[in-house]
Symmetry: C2
Subunit: 197 residues, 2 copies
């Protein structure tokens, strides 16, 4: 090897990072090969030595998004007892910071409308990410001794994703905050997390 063995790997990751950022900002279809490469400090020339096609690239970028997003949050929360873990997760997910973040948030709301229209590979990554997140929540609920943990987790994730989606669409700050606040209050009451504070 003439270059460092990890050289290409590293720039590949840099490109994927920028792609994830661009997808969050512009959506997966507005993504331009040249623009992403430029943001990673390169030109578009080497793109096809890194990725087979734009489509495959998008699928990889989406998978990459899930690694840096809510999973990270859940890991920082992994050592907490289930009640605190769930509380912190909900508080993060429905926070203004998460709503306003244009890099590093959960991919589920970002790609919500696009997912069904994506190519098969991309869509699978998305569904996989959703399933993973549901399972983590369900495990915590089960630890809390709640009887229908899986059902409750599915329905809870739906509300989380929906609330962030609607809050992001609402331009008026007060009404947007209200959307988050209402779902936060409801979910905590529903899951019996109120006393945990």
């Amino acid at each position: 090897m003439r270059y460092d063995g990890e050289h290409k790997q590293k720039t590949r990751l840099r490109v994927l990072d920028e792609a994830a950022r661009a997808i969050r900002e512009e959506g997966p279809h507005r993504l331009g090969v040249a623009a992403v490469m430029a943001r990673a400090g390169l030109t578009h020339g080497g793109f096809y030595s890194h990725f087979a096609s734009k489509e495959a690239f998008i699928a990889e970028a989406i998978a990459h998004m899930f690694e840096g997003g809510p999973i990270t949050t859940l890991k920082t929360v992994r050592d907490l007892p289930p009640r605190e873990a769930l509380t912190q997760f909900i508080d993060f997910y429905l926070s203004r910071r998460h709503r306003d973040s244009r890099n590093g948030g959960c991919p589920l709301p970002y790609l919500a409308g696009d997912a069904p229209r994506l190519a098969e590979a991309s869509r699978e990554r998305y569904a996989q990410g959703a399933a993973n997140l549901t399972k983590v929540v369900a495990d915590r609920l089960a630890e809390l001794g709640r009887p229908y943990a899986e059902e409750e987790a599915s329905s809870t994730l739906a509300e989380l994703v929906g609330a962030v989606t609607l809050a992001r669409a609402e331009a008026d700050p007060d009404r947007s905050d209200a959307i988050l606040e209402r779902s936060r209050a409801h979910l905590k009451r529903r899951l019996g997390l109120e006393a945990a504070q």
Copy 2:
């Protein structure tokens, strides 16, 4: 006037209908002027005598989507007592038919991810549509005598939108059905609609 007074109005509506369809299928950014005109039986020539720009066109198409979607459903339900109205609305919204419909469904899940990235005008139409729908649900809940009708409506709509979104992303039919079923069961229990069947 050389042409019938409503001639242009009618083709304008036809174009908007096709645009709404295309947006549901492909998303607002993949929409092509020529393609939409062709689907309406025209060429791309006359487009700019109907609409000022593509951006303005998209905003109008989004507003148009809200008129044919869930509002229609709610109107057919308007004469029912609130309990039945809410039950039917939830059953429709979380039905497989609504999940699979590529024309005529609620715009909220279709545009979920795109809404924050849309131009100001389009985003306002979206938020307006969401607010309208929330209000209709809140009014029914208030009629049922529920104390925090508005809060409950906001949180309910979030779960409805989130559940349809996630169900559409999930490729496996059984798991997709399960997502809908779990939210349907939860929402009915939550809103005290179970006995209404």
